[in-house]
């Protein structure tokens, strides 16, 4: 695991230009406020980890980035989130297009109950990315290869995606996300349902993926955050307590709450 980051204690890491910036984001579920005035930059081609105790709002915040929160009736987001110089919550932005640029991988692997091929081909199909059948096949194979799954499934692309093992299913979901050629991939606890070996494979995969993609990952395992991320943001009770280079957060946190969390006194 290579870690290339500055040694700052301040809130923002600026190793590379931010590809996304959130400023003053509040999220409400009905009357309940789940995210309180959070601002965070997501640096390009890096892995940003969101950590914090259960219920602190990590997932909620992550889902702001591709407006997945829109699917929840009671959920209301305010504040400003910029992607490619555009407020993604502006009414001009097409959510569907946005989500094709910002992919998502979920905690529980959720392949469609279709063949492996159709799972990966679904995104390109609905977005009309492939002109010919060959082209589609190409996209599917490249995506599976990038997700490190192709060798394991090349001879059974027509079998149902659900017949794979947990780790393979999660990689299938990653391949599916990659297939629409996004710039950012959001991952919500992608390994929490996996065994240590499958976890290791996915962690390595993320490491190699950050060459091409920007990754934001939610994890409940501090160890995982330490292992894979370059930037870490610590949430508590809906607030962003602290964010910065991963190494400095874990070795020398600025806030007492962060310290308490890392040492296991809270959470």
């Amino acid at each position: 695991m290579e870690k290339n980051m500055t040694e700052e204690k301040t809130a923002q890491t600026d190793a590379s230009t931010p590809i996304m910036t959130a400023s003053g984001v509040d999220v409400f579920y009905g009357k309940k406020q789940a995210i309180k005035n959070v601002s965070l930059d997501i640096p390009e081609n890096q892995i940003t980890a969101l950590i914090g105790p259960s219920g602190c709002g990590k997932s909620t915040f992550l889902r702001c980035f591709n407006r997945m929160n829109d699917t929840i009736d009671s959920c209301r987001v305010t504040g400003d989130i910029q992607f490619a110089g555009q407020d993604i919550y502006s009414s001009k932005v097409d959510v569907v297009a946005l989500r094709s640029r910002i992919g998502m991988v979920f905690q529980k692997a959720n392949p469609f109950p279709k063949s492996i091929f159709d799972n990966v081909a679904y995104g390109p199909r609905i977005h009309g990315l492939a002109e010919t059948k060959d082209h589609l096949e190409d996209i599917v194979i490249t995506s599976l290869r990038r997700a490190g799954l192709y060798d394991e499934v090349s001879d059974r692309l027509n079998e149902p995606g659900t017949s794979l093992s947990g780790g393979q299913q999660q990689r299938l979901c990653i391949a599916r996300a990659i297939a629409v050629d996004p710039q950012i991939i959001l991952m919500d606890e992608p390994c929490s349902a996996l065994d240590p070996i499958a976890t290791a494979i996915i962690e390595n995969l993320m490491d190699s993926m950050k060459e091409k993609y920007t990754i934001v990952i939610v994890t409940h395992s501090m160890q995982q955050a330490a292992r894979v991320s370059q930037q870490t943001a610590f949430f508590h009770l809906g607030e962003l307590v602290e964010s910065g280079a991963t190494e400095s957060i874990f070795t020398n946190p600025a806030q007492e709450r962060t310290q308490n969390y890392i040492s296991g006194r809270i959470g």
Partner: protein
């Protein structure tokens, strides 16, 4: 080992005894319900299976041209309408000699079904070469004879109150001695419509009436039901309107079925002037009745589709409609079909609302479409159950058996679908 831990302690014994007693209450309760059902089935089977066979009498008939077709036209209608009664009668008289009195001749003729002459007419019309020949034909016995042959007439009882007199019984015995009486499969029961005579009555027109009603019911209720469910589960925001719809649906499910019949009477018949007594209206009424069932079942299926499936599609940039119709609905389809089939099974057994819209008339003809006048299986059961002729008791039970078979088949199909659904997840 302290003895209070042991099963043998007296206090424990008492508590365990109470427990096993309570368990027995449960077993007895289930036992009562199920034995009632078995008793009901047994009673119906005991009464009904006889109807699948019916008694036939062999008669040697002279197909005399001068009686059947005096003009020699050989026109189908003429052949059908020919006067076959004397032919059958003289055939019978050959076996039972000495019947000359007019009254006796009438009584003798009553041994065969009133429909026998028409039956012969149809046979001759289908095969005019029979004319001029002398053939032994098997013709249906009357219902009374049928019951006697099946042992359902108490010959010990007072002759005065018996429909079959001693003389009739003597005649039947004579016929039996000559091997001219046999029971055979009751094809008529499955191939014809209602009749005033039990031995000529069948369930085909009622079954087709049911079929057409269910068809209409399915075509209306299935799409409406699942689309409503999809709307409420996938699209609708929680607000007063959707709340109203929900409350509405839950309450509609509890509206007595007869009220739906009144709705059909007042709205479909009297207001829209749709044709009375037809499967079209019956099916519409049944559809409104099954709709809540289908919606409620479909919604619970949709709810059970994991959110992760929707998230996955949304996360890829699929629109709401794409997500719903590419992923959610196909996954829910077997379950929604199951719910629909169960709803339809209930509709198949429904009687009361159909009584209200006139599907109770005496209907012989086989309906050929949804706008032909028809009854339905349960209504036919109701009509026959109310007929005082003994022969109809057997038919009622037999029709119930047929209805139950259909219901069980539908339920099995639903169970099969449900099993397939379960395997998937």
């Amino acid at each position: 080992m302290p003895d209070y831990l042991l099963t043998t302690s007296p206090q424990m014994a008492k508590r365990h005894a109470r427990h096993s007693r309570f368990q027995w209450y449960g077993r007895i309760a289930i036992g009562i319900s199920i034995s009632f059902m078995l008793l009901m089935f047994a009673a119906i089977f005991a009464r009904g299976t006889g109807a699948f066979q019916k008694t036939m009498i062999a008669v040697d008939v002279e197909f005399t041209e001068s009686v059947i077709d005096p003009n020699g036209s050989r026109a189908e209608m003429d052949l059908k309408q020919g006067n076959y009664k004397p032919l059958i009668l003289s055939g019978l008289q050959k076996v039972v000699p000495g019947v000359t009195e007019r009254k006796d001749r009438n009584n003798l003729y009553k041994l065969v079904s009133g429909g026998a002459a028409f039956d012969l007419g149809e046979r001759v019309a289908a095969n005019p070469d029979m004319i001029g020949t002398n053939q032994r034909v098997w013709i249906a016995a009357s219902s009374e004879v049928d019951l006697y042959v099946k042992g359902k007439v108490d010959v010990e009882s007072d002759e005065a109150i018996r429909r079959l007199k001693d003389q009739d019984i003597a005649w039947i015995n004579m016929l039996q001695d000559e091997g001219r009486v046999k029971k055979k499969f009751n094809r008529v029961f499955f191939t014809s419509g209602d009749s005033r005579a039990p031995e000529m009555a069948g369930i085909l027109s009622a079954a087709l009436g049911s079929f057409f009603s269910l068809l209409v019911c399915f075509l209306i209720a299935f799409p409406l039901g699942i689309l409503t469910a999809v709307y409420l589960e996938e699209y609708a925001k929680k607000n007063r309107l959707t709340n109203l719809i929900e409350v509405n649906i839950n309450n509609l499910a509890a509206v007595p079925s007869i009220v739906f019949g009144l709705l059909g009477l007042a709205v479909f018949l009297n207001f829209f002037n749709l044709p009375r007594s037809t499967p079209l209206v019956g099916g519409m009424v049944l559809a409104l009745m099954t709709l809540p069932t289908i919606i409620i079942a479909s919604r619970s299926i949709l709810r059970s589709i994991p959110q992760s499936t929707r998230d996955a599609a949304m996360g890829l940039g699929a629109s709401k409609t794409q997500t719903t119709f590419h992923h959610v609905v196909p996954l829910a389809m077997p379950g929604m079909l199951t719910g629909t089939i169960l709803g339809m099974a209930r509709a198949l057994g429904e009687t009361a609302p159909l009584l209200m819209i006139g599907m109770v008339a005496f209907i012989v003809d086989i309906p050929k479409g949804v706008t032909d006048v028809a009854t339905s299986l349960p209504v036919q059961i109701f009509l026959w159950a109310d007929s005082p002729e003994k022969g109809f008791v057997e038919l009622t039970s037999a029709a119930i058996i047929v209805l139950l078979v259909f219901l069980i088949l539908m339920n099995l199909f639903a169970v099969y679908l449900r099993r397939r659904l379960e395997r998937r997840w």
